[in-house]
């Protein structure tokens, strides 16, 4: 299992291929890629702040929980911080397992926890300034199902 927290851009497709290639015995790989939403053609930028040290630990703890709960072959989380341009991947989760249900559920679990329990804060930068993205009630509620 691997956690990567970095400022640099990453290639989601290349990461997916490398992850699948080394996931021996896996029959199912689920990936999630979060993109900067391009709002109606307007060039959008995003600034992501994080809590160095806590971020990696918090994500590793989530992965340990997922591994205890589902039969996983492997899992990967990549999350960027700093300034991101429109349509750049912000983050990705990949989960490999023997059967699809484990891979889907573990990926959703990791996403729900990353959204609300990993110390990242997004700020949307537009021509008129920056605005911190507000946490959504649905995201907090999503944790209740696990």
């Amino acid at each position: 299992m691997r956690v990567v927290v970095q400022a640099e851009a990453f290639d989601a497709g290349a990461e997916l291929n490398a992850f699948s290639a080394q996931a021996a015995g896996a029959g199912a790989v689920v990936s999630f890629t979060g993109l900067v939403r391009d709002n109606g053609g307007a060039l959008s930028m995003m600034e992501i702040e994080h809590y160095p040290g806590m971020t990696e630990k918090a994500i590793a703890a989530m992965m340990d929980q997922a591994a205890a709960r589902w039969a996983l072959v492997d899992a990967l989380v990549i999350h960027r911080f700093g300034r991101l341009a429109g349509a750049d991947p912000i983050m990705m989760v990949a989960v490999a397992s023997k059967h699809r249900v484990d891979a889907f559920e573990a990926a959703e679990f990791l996403m729900d926890y990353l959204k609300s329990r990993a110390p990242f804060w997004k700020k949307e930068i537009s021509a008129t300034g920056g605005a911190w993205v507000a946490a959504r009630d649905e995201d907090e509620a999503a944790l209740k199902r696990w």
Binding site: G53, M54, K115, W121, A135
Partner: protein, 82 residues
């Protein structure tokens, strides 16, 4: 001395990303009250605690948590990762 770190709009309102503080506060809630009484910018940042989260030594905690033995307190808004 305790290290206090602020993120996102808490950092912006308080005006510094981190500071070392001398405090007699026993709990996180005490520390928040002490800071809010000290200066307007803290009172402003901590005005709505429902929108503030806290971590003690990089583990999520709540406002009733004791500060004994804690080296690093972080205050931040609800997280918006993913």
């Amino acid at each position: 001395m305790i290290e206090v770190i602020y993120f996102a709009w808490l950092r912006e309102r308080i005006g510094v990303p981190r500071e070392s503080l001398q405090t007699a506060a026993l709990t996180v809630a005490d520390l928040v009250a002490e800071l809010s009484a000290r200066e307007e910018r803290y009172a402003l940042a901590f005005g709505d605690l429902a929108s503030v989260r806290v971590a003690l030594d990089q583990e999520l905690a709540d406002f009733a948590a004791p500060l004994a033995g804690v080296r690093e307190v972080a205050f931040f808004p609800p997280m918006t990762g993913g």
